[in-house]
Symmetry: C2
Subunit: 321 residues, 2 copies
């Protein structure tokens, strides 16, 4: 691929920030840019960079696709407000769930989310706003994995030969595309963002849809959302790269109040990794694993079984879906 | 239920053996009995008891249902031969796989195995041999779980109101029905069986079919058989009640040689338990868990992910299916 990587040891954050602000400002010129904020590290840093470059010429949207974690839309909007960035919260839940209905293949699900995001929702937003640019937080690892064919990242377009201007009516600007995650965090720090924001554990573009094996429905998202809340509460104190709850489609036999219950299974994954290219399962204590299982089977309706993933990447990947 | 439990503290093995031999001998009288040996503790102890009671009037069969572990049919037959018991090995693999085809619900799968075993295979054997009795190793816990509706054990018939004489043409004799697992092991020891035989970890009646979520096919049994071999090799040195590999129907994203591989997941379960009524996951070392994952993903074709179950029973059950 033609994009060069800036290695963390070669990165001068202040120089990078000045350079990218200049490039964004030059490209957008006197017009406007629309910005998709997901609340993750990459999109938050992109937002701060673009806000610095464009000021009020930047229109930042947070799309509630119905696939977010508990309380996430509100907390992301409020955290950005504290940094002086106004964010427009847009409810697109029905559009996403309609697009996901009946789909079970991971790639087909990702494609449905990508299409709804870029074509349906942002196509409309860009048209309505008259802004010919979309800012997004694509990073080097996303490009690499998509090009290698490991996993289709939702935000990869140009690198797959998609002409966004033709397809969706806008150009995409990706100021972080030469960086890996540690580089992005360094930029966030240099931009004066709170540590909690630039060190936030990664969360996938398709959000909780990436945590549901099989069909994504509002009910199944609600189950995995509850399990995610438990996992994030219990593992936030652990030094790990990323942690997650995955709802399986398989059902397993359980027993409750002495009766058979054919119930759900939640898989917990917690990864040690530098850059998501390789990863290994975090050596969580058995007490913590037991506590996770106890809480998830008590707090998430219908869950009778909890597992912990013990595979490395490769041959696993960080996300199951 | 009308069956009384003999608690381990009230059990006098020698008295129990004499009493059961007398009862078996009286019931069978001058005719013959057919005996279904699975190789598990319960059926092996039943075989030894009945062999002592009936001698050559006992016809012991080992049914190869295609769902056994690697090398199991041969090793069970040979171990019994060493104890002076002749076992007839019967190949019924096609009959079982035909009965399981297209079935995914655990109860429906169990029912298909039960029907094939009792009606098709043993109905024919009993008819051909002219023996009006079938010996089997049902224990108290099987009855309890079936009656409570937790899990339909394959060997529970009379307790569910099934008249085996009417339905299949033979009467069932269950000499161990008042015992739980520790009692059965004590009887095995008192009968002079090798420790390896009476302390063998439990293995379910439906064999590897109970380790496959979703449809049971020869190919899927072959995958879980390979995973079982690894799990049993690695965990045989661990002090645990039971351990197993479960093949999921769900597939997950993996990566091999830099390419995406949508592969299989194996779940490992290893239980601490006294009597299978309650159980908790064995605190295996992380190194051992990692070794299991490494070996299973290398040695079982198509497996990209391995998990370890961390739930207690209840709300889980020992077997997933």
């Amino acid at each position: 691929m033609s994009i060069r990587e800036i290695k963390i040891e070669d990165l001068n954050p202040q120089v990078f920030i000045e350079e990218q602000c200049r490039l964004i400002s030059e490209q957008v010129g006197p017009s406007k840019a629309v910005n998709a904020l997901s609340g993750g590290v990459d999109s938050s840093v992109t937002t701060m960079l673009a806000h610095r470059a464009l000021g009020p010429r930047l229109l930042t949207y947070f799309i509630d696709n119905g696939l977010m974690r508990e309380g996430e839309p509100e907390s992301v909007v409020s955290a950005m407000k504290n940094l002086g960035v106004a964010v427009i919260l847009l409810d697109a839940r029905n559009e996403f769930f309609a697009a996901l209905q009946g789909k079970t293949d991971p790639e087909v699900k990702r494609q449905a989310i990508t299409d709804t995001f870029y074509k349906t929702v942002f196509g409309r937003l860009v048209k309505e706003s008259g802004a010919p640019y979309l800012l997004q937080g694509t990073i080097y690892t996303d490009v690499e994995e998509t090009v290698a064919g490991i996993k289709r990242q939702h935000n990869i377009l140009a690198q797959l030969g998609i002409d966004t201007e033709k397809a969706f009516g806008y150009k995409v600007i990706e100021p972080l595309i030469e960086l890996r995650k540690p580089g992005v965090r360094a930029i966030g720090e240099a931009l004066g963002m709170p540590e909690k924001m630039y060190n936030r554990p990664p969360f996938p573009g398709p959000a909780l849809a990436a945590r549901v094996i099989g069909e994504v429905t509002p009910e199944r998202i609600d189950l995995v959302r509850k399990a995610t809340l438990v996992v994030e509460e219990e593992l936030s104190g652990v030094q790990a790269f990323q942690y997650m709850a995955v709802l399986h489609e398989d059902r397993v036999t359980g027993t409750r109040s002495g009766k058979r219950e054919y119930g759900f299974q939640i898989e917990v994954r917690c990864w040690d990794s530098k850059d998501a290219v390789t990863a290994s399962p975090t050596r969580l204590s058995f007490d913590l694993l037991r506590k996770l299982a106890d809480r998830i089977t008590s707090e998430v309706p219908g869950v009778v079984s909890v597992t912990y993933n013990v595979t490395t990447k490769p041959p696993s990947t960080i996300e199951a879906v």
